[in-house]
């Protein structure tokens, strides 16, 4: 979600279709929900705050969403889809697997660094929506594991009983969470070599991981 906030539509007569208008309002509401919730916290955010930040009217809001919670969950899904698309695209790129791992982690760290509010909303504030968060968390985690698993080369050493991909995703997410929660999202890209090393160790052992993670420096 590093794109600029979606622009408001022109006032008065325009040639936009009803669908265009609805889509624009939906995008603006999603962006505003993430921004306002990240700034104020879920508990303190009201529909009025979201409306003020998005420039969308109350009536249009309730045509699109049942309530604030639904809007927050839809916004969360949209943010997660965007992150997964960017991470997935980086992983699907050209090159050796270890290089693609580094590129993938770089995409992940850049995503969180480029829009700290979106990152805070995605990882931290969503915990306040209630039990639904647990299912969201699990589904998101599993989607990352699936993407990484699908692109694993066949010639990796036998990891024995270790779920290496879960460990990799766990390392990345838990590290990012610490920084995002502490308000240091903009420093995330500097962690790339260390995180690449940590992610690769369970797959390759320390020596190979060190070469792969720090060679590019």
């Amino acid at each position: 979600m590093s794109a600029p906030a979606p622009a408001r539509l022109p006032r008065g007569r325009h040639h936009l279709s009803r669908d265009d208008v609805t889509r624009s309002q939906r995008e603006r509401l999603i962006a505003a929900t993430a921004r306002v919730t990240a700034e104020r916290g879920y508990e303190a955010t009201s529909v009025a705050d979201i409306l003020a930040a998005s420039g969308v009217g109350r009536e249009s809001f309730y045509e699109l969403f049942g309530d604030r919670r639904e809007c927050v969950l839809v916004a969360h899904q949209a943010m997660l889809d965007d992150l997964i698309a960017k991470v997935g695209a980086a992983y699907a790129g050209e090159g050796e697997w270890v290089d693609r791992c580094r590129t993938t982690l770089a995409a992940l760290l850049d995503w969180f660094a480029s829009d700290p509010a979106a990152g805070r909303f995605l990882l931290v504030e969503v915990a306040a929506v209630g039990p639904e968060f647990h299912a969201r968390f699990e589904a998101g985690f599993d989607r990352f594991v699936e993407i990484i698993d699908a692109g694993l080369p066949a010639d990796l050493p036998d990891p024995g009983p270790l779920p290496t991909t879960s460990l990799a995703v766990g390392a990345a997410i838990s590290r990012v969470y610490v920084e995002v929660a502490a308000g240091r999202s903009e420093h995330l890209p500097a962690l790339l070599p260390q995180l690449t090393y940590e992610v690769l160790v369970p797959f390759l052992g320390e020596a190979t991981a060190r070469d792969a993670a720090f060679a590019a420096l």
Binding site: A127, G130, G160, S166, L167, V178, A182, E206
Partner: protein, 230 residues
């Protein structure tokens, strides 16, 4: 508070829920706690104490750091499997209330594990970051619990053993300990993870004096094979 959080998370829990669950009056509640948050902090502290005491009991009298790590892991995961609400409140709600506390447990646990290795006279050399390893472990546990699969937590024993060992003893030793642990927690964990039998035999026969936590589950066909070899 603990059971309310497990059921509907801290965010959705109301004072009304708490007093009706605990069968106390609102007045009594406010005599004991200043607000919902205050009660939550007390509940979380008690849960943390409970986990800490379980881990401390598990490693009591055990000098070898790798074995102590395995024992603590098994005991910890069994406790959370039996009482998933502990993991839900400590991993989930505590972060919902104060996200910056995410590395709080790591700051408690990492020095304790470090001390295990230091006491054994092992040079405490960091092969990888214990903090990141701890974060991973926390996430893996929460992932199972959040999905309502707490009963499967003991299957994570090899993973957590690896994470707790590898930063101090290196990847190869971490992997060896994970294999030992997989064999000792029984068929479920190791079979699911699809470990190759040859390697487990190798792990078991090179394990030497380092027995697992000595559970009945050790008497598996794999152990039997290892016995024949040695």
């Amino acid at each position: 508070m603990v059971s309310c959080c497990a059921e509907k998370t801290y965010a959705e829990t109301t004072i009304a829920d708490l007093v009706s669950r605990a069968c106390v009056s609102r007045t009594t509640f406010y005599k004991l706690f200043s607000d919902k948050r205050d009660c939550f902090e007390a509940a979380a502290a008690r849960c943390l104490e409970r986990v800490g005491a379980t881990l401390a009991r598990a490693v009591e009298g055990c000098e070898a750091p790798a074995e102590a790590t395995r024992r603590a892991t098994v005991a910890g995961l069994e406790l959370l499997a039996a009482e998933p609400e502990l993991a839900l409140i400590l991993n989930g709600d505590v972060l919902g209330v104060e996200p910056r506390r995410v590395d709080r447990y790591a700051r408690l646990a990492v020095p304790a594990v470090e001390a295990l290795w230091a006491r054994a006279g092992e040079p405490v050399r960091k092969h990888s970051s214990p903090g990141i390893a701890f974060g991973r472990a926390q996430l893996l546990v929460f992932h199972e619990v959040a999905a309502g699969r707490a009963e499967r937590l003991p299957a994570l024993v090899p993973d957590i053993v690896y994470l707790a060992t590898a930063p101090f003893a290196g990847h190869d030793e971490g992997l060896r300990q994970a294999r030992l642990a997989a064999a000792s927690v029984g068929d479920g964990a190791s079979a699911e993870a699809g470990a190759s039998p040859d390697r487990e035999v190798e792990a078991l026969s090179t394990g030497g004096t380092e027995e697992g936590p000595g559970r009945a589950a050790k008497a598996t066909s794999r152990t039997a094979t290892a016995g024949q070899i040695s």
